[in-house]
Symmetry: C2
Subunit: 225 residues, 2 copies
DNA sequence: CGATCAATTGAGCCGTCTCAATTTGGGTGG
DNA sequence: CCACCCAAATTGAGACGGCTCAATTGATCG
């Protein structure tokens, strides 16, 4: 059952039982601590069991770009499989816990259970799609649409984890949201205020209550129109 | 040797010889034709042998976002591995040719040659990193930096293929570049004109001559400073 | 209960977009 | 071969969205 949180996609019971071999190790991450840094050797990928973790790139000039806010059941570290070196930082936004999927274990087990590698391919494809969606958001949407889409994505994913889709707590600051969405923290703050003024949601600090999900969807552009 | 163009990353001779089994089929793509469309069933991924192919997302409202311009040796279609359904369109920008890597073949051979799946993981990781770089460009760079980074990326990849890093022909329109970089075609055109005025490059329609690569690098922000 | 950091809000500026006119180039048919 | 046509690219003027800088308020945590 723990495995389900770490490789949750359509696993067959039979396989899951074998999978426990794969995941022996867990790591607790206090808020603010790093799971890995840019340049670290990649010996494993990680499935989030608990908490929220951000991943961010950093270029030669120190410029930072957040590429994801990952929730329980999601995988991180796959950007490091190209050269066995992580190309991003992974930092816990709250006290978190991950399970460790060692690559050599993955390879060893994959030869016995071919379904495992197909499973893993799907997880990597999911990350590609996630990133492409972010590109779409950054490249094609205006600020209000980006924030609406961001909130809807969070809502959907939290809902899938059994939490309320309408009420949740943002684990990241305005600055982090802004960085992720290619906006300034002031713009994010103003947009929250405006959404609240227009009756789309209530927001108090990091507590969000979505009042009009349909209007958010229309705004985000995911609806036809 | 053909295989090298399709799975070019650090393959051992021994494996390559077995790989020819994997790549039996080729597809010729006239300029403007699609290799696959959003919603198509994914039964293969494709390695470009010749030409240039763009991949683009399209949302419910018809909004399009180009996520990549792929050159020979690069792989496309990996966004479809999540649900065996393509999530993007792939369209040839010039007469092109791809080799077909069938997934069932890949799975069959992977069980006999474990190195193959590691190889494939690397290719998927490369796509993740490529997309993350684009996110960084869209989220953190200003227009001139985006275009500079775009030109440098093209130059580097063409150079790796044996072409001149300083002189090349853009296979995409201003509008396509703009869409890819989150800018309008007018902004792209103005930037080219400005770069030319400042002596960074010559541009005549789609022919580019880079005159000051170092200045472009500094501009793109990939240099420290 | 201060100290500090996060968030809000305002004013003004700058970069990019929009809308429009013009030029250039390539392709086609007379 | 030239004339025409259409698509692509260039360039300009003006509007607007998001950024910058700055001040203020509101949380959180020793």
């Amino acid at each position: 059952m723990l495995s389900e949180l770490c490789l949750p996609l359509g696993m067959v019971r039979n396989d899951v039982s074998k999978m426990d071999e794969l995941i022996k190790e867990r790591i607790r991450l206090p808020k603010g601590s790093a799971l890995f840094h840019l340049g670290d050797k990649t010996e494993a990928v990680y499935g989030i069991r608990l908490g929220t973790i951000k991943t961010q790139l950093e270029d030669a000039s120190g410029q930072v770009q957040i590429t994801g806010f990952l929730l329980p059941g999601e995988i991180l570290g796959m950007d490091g499989l190209l050269n066995n070196t992580h190309t991003s930082h992974a930092i816990a936004l709250e006290d978190s816990e991950v399970c460790v999927i060692r690559l050599e274990e993955l390879d060893r087990l994959s030869t016995h259970f071919p379904v495992l590698q197909q499973q893993f391919r799907r997880l990597m494809s999911k990350e590609i799609n996630r990133s492409h969606q972010l590109v779409m958001s950054l490249g094609a949407l205006r600020s209000e649409q980006r924030l609406a889409a961001f909130l809807l994505s969070l809502s959907n994913r939290l809902s899938a984890l059994g939490y309320s889709p309408n009420e949740f707590v943002l684990r990241m600051s305005r600055e982090e949201i802004g960085n992720y969405l290619g906006l300034t923290l002031e713009t994010v703050s103003r947009l929250f205020s405006r959404f609240a003024r227009e009756g789309l949601l209530h927001i108090h600090q990091r507590e969000v209550h979505i009042l009009d999900m349909q209007a958010l969807r229309q705004l985000s552009g995911s609806d036809c129109g």
